[in-house]
Subunit: 154 residues, 3 copies
């Protein structure tokens, strides 16, 4: 049996954890859309002219800090989560200790959920957002570096 | 033979469909770049000062609704399609009925193409864009939830 | 042995190259965050009101061309690199010549690093940025088209 079929298998808890937490992160990112939408309707900031009817009765404005805040949180997800999907999979192929791998996936998912919460739901003063962001950032970096050192096929 | 090698194989039409439609979505997203570019040159909205020469003879402006419209469609792709790549693969590993899986990939791809068309090519009044977006959104959500329920390794 | 286990294996240099260069691209994208951050602090452009303390002593402004430039380079990465991850993997499954595949991964990674350099580090006049962008664009397109022609399960 090749190494890869021992790693990418339902018998490997690290692989199951990758798929589970990856899917949780997908749902977390999906949540940003209704979150933005709610702010847009509440504050009367349609994204496109044809959506103006949604803010009926309210004065329409081009932008609002509370809409921009949710959009920045969403953009930060786009900057971080898709690269985690690749780095997490590459890391999985380096045959890591399953418990360590699972804990890293857990920590990453928790950090990204906290990031969204303190950025876009309840604004908590810094360094809350900075710490949540940095946790995710360094986990992704560790995984990518470990994969490069393992595969090193340049 | 392990379950995973029965799923991730050229004999599984759902897997072949995932790769095919994934690649079609890659091409669809690539199309946004020339689409934006065309609007920028037509309307004289260079993205960076060093690109001003491309709009020769035209008055230069900082932004234009018709450029912003294509950029919003592109951003919406970025918010939706990379997470579909992960959710679609996770869903594939839950051993779905191949026909159902293929139909979901077809519906998703069609919905995203329609979304771009009614948002950035020919502006169709709502709810056209909303429906196209929601179709893709709920398919991704269904796949992610199904994968979480199947793998549930927290 | 199925074809796929011959392709997705540590014995296939193209697969090892995909994981290595994928991880390098992850690190390259991660670099955009400190790059943006440096510009924000240097020029006094906090991303959110709660970050204003970071620009102590400096006058605070809403935006600055040198911050926007790095952000555009980052956005361009988001538009291009996640779809390369999918297209590169799909291409790998078409059983390409390993040397050709490795060279394409090398060229893509180099092109994207150059793109960032001439866009956001040292501003080089066009067509430097255009050529770097086009190299990555056409490699991704080639891979996606090759995968569609190979799998063609619609």
């Amino acid at each position: 049996m090749s190494i890869i079929s021992r790693l990418v298998t339902f018998d490997n808890p690290a692989f199951n954890g990758y798929v589970t937490y990856g899917s949780v992160l997908v749902l977390k990112m999906m949540l940003m859309a209704p979150l933005t939408s709610r702010q847009r309707h509440k504050l009367g900031v349609p994204i496109s002219p044809e959506d103006a009817f949604l803010s009926k009765g309210k004065e329409i404005c081009k932008s609002h800090e509370d809409v921009e805040r949710v959009r920045r949180a969403h953009l930060n997800d786009l900057e971080n989560i898709p690269i985690f999907f690749l780095a997490g999979f590459a890391y999985l192929l380096t045959d890591p200790d399953p418990t360590t791998a699972l804990n890293l996936f857990r920590a990453y998912t928790l950090a990204r959920c906290l990031h969204t919460f303190v950025y876009a739901v309840v604004v908590v003063p810094q360094p809350a957002r900075g710490l949540a962001w940095a946790t995710g950032f360094f986990i992704t970096g560790y995984m990518a570096v470990k994969a490069i050192c393992h595969f090193k096929t340049f």
